[in-house]
Structure formats: structure tokens, C-alpha cells
């Protein structure tokens, strides 16, 4: 029994960070769109998302939407910190991944791959479906 447990931990290590409910908006070539997901940090220590890479566009940044009075805008954020044993939601009207100057059209239900870079967990690859 103990041997089985050790083997399962060796071959199926627990995910430190998991990405849930990832989706992106459809958009046309050369335009800008957004990617959203929830990051779950199952470890007891904080981790930091600091880079997102994909061949889908010329430039990818993390942004947050903010409001001043009845005006709304976006500003770049260099990183997103996910505290230990907590989750962080990138969602419409809040933090999002801004995908700028798309190299091709993204239609409803298209899928694209992204690599998320975390300081502790390293690279995490995700496949994201487009939806309206």
C-alpha cells in the first residue's frame, strides 16, 4: 500500500498550480482580444504569473481594467501574485491577458495554445477555446 502511494506520488505528482475555465474572445487578424482564466494555487506559498507566450499574436501583456468616474480604461500589470491556498480570477472588467495584433482571425470555438510562466511552478501549457 505504501509502495503504491509512493509510486503514485512519483508518477502523478499533485499539480501546484492549476488553470481553470480558460476562454478568449473571438477577434479579427491585426486586432486585439482578451484571454481569461482562473488560477488555483494549491501550495502553501505564493506564486507569480509573470509572462504569457503564444504564437497567436505579436504581443501579449497582462492588463487590468479600471474606472475613474464614468470613464474606463486599461493599464498594464507586470505580474499577478497568487497567494498560497487561494485562487485568482482573470475576468471581464478586471484583470485579463491582452492579446495584441493577432496574426490570424480567431473565430467562435477556435482553439489556441498559450504557455503561462510562473516563478515557482514554471511553465504551464493551456489550450483555450474562443467563445462569444
Amino acid at each position: 500500500m505504501i509502495i503504491l502511494l509512493i509510486l503514485s506520488l512519483l508518477f502523478f505528482p499533485e499539480e501546484k498550480i492549476s488553470i481553470k475555465d480558460a476562454w478568449m474572445r473571438p477577434a479579427s487578424e491585426k486586432m486585439t482580444t482578451a484571454l481569461y482564466f482562473t488560477i488555483e494555487n494549491k501550495t502553501g506559498t505564493a506564486d507569480t504569473l509573470y509572462k504569457i507566450v503564444s504564437g497567436i499574436s505579436e504581443r501579449i501583456e497582462m492588463h487590468e481594467t479600471y474606472s475613474e468616474g464614468d470613464m474606463s480604461g486599461m493599464r498594464k500589470v507586470e505580474m499577478i501574485v497568487i497567494e498560497g491556498k487561494s485562487s485568482f480570477e482573470l475576468k471581464p472588467g478586471s484583470h485579463h491577458v491582452m492579446i495584441m495584433k493577432l496574426k490570424a482571425n480567431i473565430s467562435d470555438r477556435d482553439t489556441e495554445e498559450f504557455i503561462l510562466h510562473f516563478k515557482q511552478a514554471g511553465e504551464i501549457r493551456i489550450t483555450v477555446k474562443a467563445k462569444k
Binding site: 474572445r25 473571438p26 477577434a27 479579427s28 486586432m31 486585439t32 482580444t33 482578451a34 505579436e58 504581443r59 492588463h63 481594467t65 474606472s67 475613474e68 464614468d70 470613464m71 474606463s72 480604461g73 486599461m74 493599464r75 498594464k76 471581464p92 472588467g93 485579463h96 491582452m98 492579446i99 495584441m100 495584433k101 482571425n105 473565430s107 467562435d108 462569444k132
Partner: protein
């Protein structure tokens, strides 16, 4: 007799106080604006929408977060109204980024979001005309985060008023709403009120 008159007066007053009033009454027909639609056809605003209750959203197509929410809310309003058999409401999206939002870009944007051109029109125009029109609606939009990429092409984002407006059949601006967080039931009730 006096009691009857008193009761009738109270009844009339209470009924009239129940009648819903929309907060704005701004006549947009006093000035015309030469715009251009997604098919590169000249569109004189507000003549282009006269005679129809119109929901107008202010957007720029390179906006990844707020403006798609605004357009999606307008799309959902249209869908809900259609489900109730109301098909005569017009929807217009006016770009406050005419430098990048050419008719071609507007058309691509509409196709991506499956907007039906039977009820929808997307509008852009010369920058001074757009700026003048934005002032009329009290909508502000300023460039932010400007930079030049490796190819020397300028990129920027925009800070802007988050706005959807409701215009009645006579070209009168009746109410403004926050576009990205629009309460669908509120605007649908207002549209039904204008139809009655």
C-alpha cells in the same frame, strides 16, 4: 360631490405619478453629422436612425475588454427583444477611434460578433466630426499607453466613457447606461415604455 372630486383628483394624481419618465430629453435632430457605415456608405446621423427606437454603443474595435462587453450586452438586448417578438429596434455602434476603425475594420468586427446588419449599423467618420458627435453625447475618449512597435507602427489603448444610450423614435436622447455592466431588464423595460 366634493368627496367624489377629491377622490378623482387623488386618483388622477397618483396614476400620473406612476407614469414612468425617462431622465433625458435631448433633441439630437438639431444638428447632423456626416458619418460612414461599415460598407463605406455615407450615413447622416441622426437621420439614419430617425423613426426607430435606437440603442447606441460607443466603442473602439481594438478594445479587448470593456467594448466587447458593451456590444455583447446590446446583442443580448436584441436577442431578448426578438424572443418577445420585438424586431424593430435599431442598434448602432459608433467608433471613437476613427484613425483605426475604418469601415473595413468595423465590418470585420461585426462579422466576428455575428451582428445582424438588418438591425445593426456600425459608424465611423472624420475625426473632427466624430469628436463633435461625442461632445453631443457627452462621451469622452483619450488615447493611453501609446508606443511604437518594432515595425514603427503606432499602438495605443483608450480610456473612454463606458456608455450605451437610448434614443426614441423622434431622435431624442432619453437615457444613458453604463455599457459594460448594462442591466438588460432595465433597458428592455425602457424600450417597451418608448414603444407604448
Amino acid at each position: 360631490m366634493i368627496i367624489k372630486i377629491l377622490v378623482s383628483t387623488i386618483l388622477i394624481l397618483s396614476l400620473s405619478s406612476c407614469k414612468k419618465e425617462l431622465p433625458l430629453d435631448k433633441d439630437l435632430t438639431k444638428k447632423s453629422y456626416e458619418l460612414i457605415n461599415q460598407d463605406s456608405v455615407e450615413a447622416i446621423f441622426p437621420s439614419i436612425i430617425n423613426g426607430s427606437i435606437t440603442v447606441i454603443g460607443f466603442i473602439f474595435t481594438n478594445c479587448p475588454d470593456i467594448c466587447p462587453m458593451t456590444i455583447n450586452n446590446m446583442y443580448l438586448v436584441e436577442k431578448k427583444l426578438n424572443d418577445e417578438g420585438i424586431n424593430d429596434i435599431k442598434f448602432a455602434a459608433i467608433s471613437f477611434d476613427p484613425e483605426r476603425d475604418t469601415p473595413e475594420m468595423l465590418k470585420k468586427f461585426a462579422h466576428t460578433r455575428e451582428l445582424n446588419f438588418r438591425n445593426w449599423i456600425l459608424l465611423t467618420g472624420e475625426k473632427p466630426v466624430i469628436n463633435d458627435l461625442l461632445k453631443r453625447f457627452d462621451v469622452k475618449a483619450v488615447k493611453t499607453d501609446e508606443y511604437f512597435d518594432d515595425n514603427g507602427e503606432q499602438s495605443y489603448s483608450m480610456m473612454h466613457t463606458d456608455r450605451i444610450s437610448l434614443i426614441d423614435q423622434n431622435g431624442i436622447l432619453k437615457k444613458n447606461y453604463k455599457g459594460s455592466t448594462l442591466n438588460l431588464d432595465e433597458i428592455i423595460n425602457d424600450i417597451k415604455y418608448l414603444k407604448d
